[in-house]
């Protein structure tokens, strides 16, 4: 699409504009209904995680939010403006999952070129420092490791000094150390008053980095709250044990939401493993071979969304 800059002027008469406002957002690709009437309001200065399994509609939502895709229905406002306009004014910067880099040019050249596309770019030294690119400036952009390329994408997202930063699965190509360093950088940006929205399918990441978690499944928002609230709903534990006890007795244990049984092998899904185990001991039930672990997000979504799938 060729950008047109002659869109509507900012609306007056409203109080402080929200950073992001999505209303009734809907997008289908043929028979695949990727996003189905998604509503989301994001306040300025907050760090919000968009959490959901693969195929939940996170990337499609982000593409519409950035003006890369036109919604079939619904409205996107970024600080009260259309996405294309917000991008053109450098209000919003984004880092996309595995987005390619220009081939055959050096990191420093590429970053400098991107900076010059903006009216008020951040100084080069500041970008280099905040993305940790000091030792990579002379390297070819197409010969970076996954984590290094992601740092360059991060610097490019920051180049226009945006007040909103959108990240789609930002840490998927990073190892543990790189992830840690990445979120420390994000923290600094958030402290500077920027609004951060990131998509992830890791509950731990949402929990650690965000102050609000929005859970998306099947193209809709199915839960929205503080990390603690979402964690208690999604962050289930799985207790495996061997027991001859009847399923009804096990279902009655504290915090247990679901019981699966294969012969004498029992799996308990619980929101509070400690309470369940205390109960298990307190009631004097017969069991052995206990094993406690986390559940993956897919399972957690099934228990949260019930029949949605």
């Amino acid at each position: 699409m060729i950008t047109m800059l002659s869109e509507e002027a900012p609306r007056t008469g409203e109080t402080v504009e929200r950073a992001v406002s999505l209303r009734g957002l809907t997008k289908s690709f043929g028979s695949n209904h990727a996003v189905r009437g998604l509503d989301l309001e994001i306040e300025r200065g907050s760090t919000v995680a968009l959490l959901g399994p693969n195929g939940a509609g996170k990337s499609t939502t982000i593409s519409m939010l950035l003006g890369l895709l036109e919604p079939d229905r619904g409205e996107v406002r970024i600080l009260g403006k259309s996405p294309r306009r917000a991008v053109a004014e450098g209000l919003i910067g984004a880092m996309q999952q595995d987005a390619g880099l220009m081939q055959g040019v050096r990191v420093g050249e590429l970053l400098d070129m991107v900076r010059h596309l903006y009216q008020r770019p951040l100084p080069m030294v500041e970008l280099i420092e905040s993305a940790g690119l000091e030792s990579l400036l002379g390297r070819r952009a197409d010969r970076l490791s996954g984590g290094q390329a992601q740092r360059l994408r991060f610097a490019m997202a920051l180049a226009g000094d945006p007040s909103i930063i959108v990240l789609d699965e930002p840490t998927s190509a990073m190892d543990v150390d790189a992830r840690h360093a990445f979120w420390r950088r994000m923290e600094r940006l958030a402290e500077a008053g920027r609004t951060i929205l990131f998509a992830t399918h890791y509950l731990e990441e949402a929990d650690a980095a965000a102050d609000r978690v929005v859970v998306v499944a099947q193209g809709r928002v199915i839960a929205d709250g503080s990390p603690a609230q979402i964690k208690s709903r999604l962050g289930q534990r799985r207790i495996r044990l061997t027991s001859p006890e009847a399923a009804e007795r096990l279902e009655g244990l504290a915090a247990v939401s679901r019981v699966e049984r294969t012969g004498r092998q029992v799996t308990l899904f619980t929101a509070d493993a400690d309470a369940t185990v205390r109960d298990l001991i307190g009631l004097g039930l017969a069991w052995r071979d206990i094993e406690i672990g986390g559940v993956d997000l897919e399972d957690a979504f099934i228990s949260l969304t019930g029949e949605v799938r």
């Binding site: 984004a94 390619g100 880099l101 081939q103 050249e109």
Partner: protein, 245 residues
């Protein structure tokens, strides 16, 4: 946009595929063909052989420069998501595409000039300053339709096909378009095809200018029709691709 253009030009000129096929090969063909056919033979329009071959090979190198700078690169950047990344900057999508086409055409200039220098040095080809300027200017502008063709291909096919596609077109356009050998040496059916190819249009404009004549309207029309048709296809393909996920 200026910096993007400069970066695009720089990487075009340093691309080994460009250097081999747009610079080394036309110069090599020039030296080879001018030996094979004899430096004093005549093939077209009463032009001396070395001059006619110079125009042919300059056009040939220019065609590869604009092909290699557009189709494979656009297809690849579409695939990796770099074009999408650029859409997240204030740079209008249209100027990204203009930069690609212009950069590929800038890369055509050294390829063309080098063939001319070879002709001057090896066979003493000489033209007056005005004819040189007109010839190079016309050949250069004449690569625009081919750059647009490469642009359209870049949006129509994936990166694994794009390079092969322009490679086939490059050799096909050279052989059937009368750049390797005169059109009159080809079978009649192929001559009919050759006459409507943009490579023949480009070569013919160059030959006429080199001979001090006015280019044929038919050749200009061929170039214009290719240019407009490819621009339309490219624009439609670009819009369709941009609307995809």
């Amino acid at each position: 946009m200026t910096r993007l253009l400069l970066l695009e030009i720089k990487r075009s000129l340093l691309d080994p595929r460009y250097l081999v096929l747009a610079v080394v090969m036309p110069v090599g063909f020039y030296l080879l063909f001018s030996e094979l056919f004899g430096a004093h033979g005549q093939r077209v329009e009463g032009l001396p052989q070395p001059l006619e071959l110079m125009v042919s090979m300059a056009a040939y190198g220019g065609i590869w420069a604009v092909f290699s700078g557009t189709a494979p690169r656009i297809a690849q950047e579409r695939g990796t998501g770099w074009l999408r990344q650029l859409r997240l900057t204030p740079l209008p999508g249209g100027s990204v595409m203009v930069a690609k086409v212009v950069a590929s055409m800038v890369a055509a200039l050294p390829a063309m000039i080098l063939v001319c220098v070879t002709a001057v040095v090896a066979h003493g080809v000489s033209l007056d300053a005005r004819t040189w300027a007109e010839l190079l200017g016309a050949l250069w502008l004449g690569t625009l339709p081919l750059a647009l063709l490469g642009f359209a291909i870049g949006f129509l096919v994936g990166s694994e096909v794009a390079y092969g596609a322009v490679m086939v077109l490059y050799f096909g356009f050279g052989a059937v378009g009368g750049l390797w050998m005169p059109l009159s040496a080809l079978p009649a059916a192929m001559q009919d095809i050759g006459k409507v190819l943009p490579s023949h249009g480009l070569g013919d404009v160059g030959w006429k200018i080199a001979a001090g004549q006015v280019p044929d309207t038919s050749s200009l029309v061929v170039l214009a029709v290719w240019g407009v048709a490819c621009a339309i296809v490219a624009l439609v393909a670009y819009r369709v691709q941009s609307a995809r996920r």
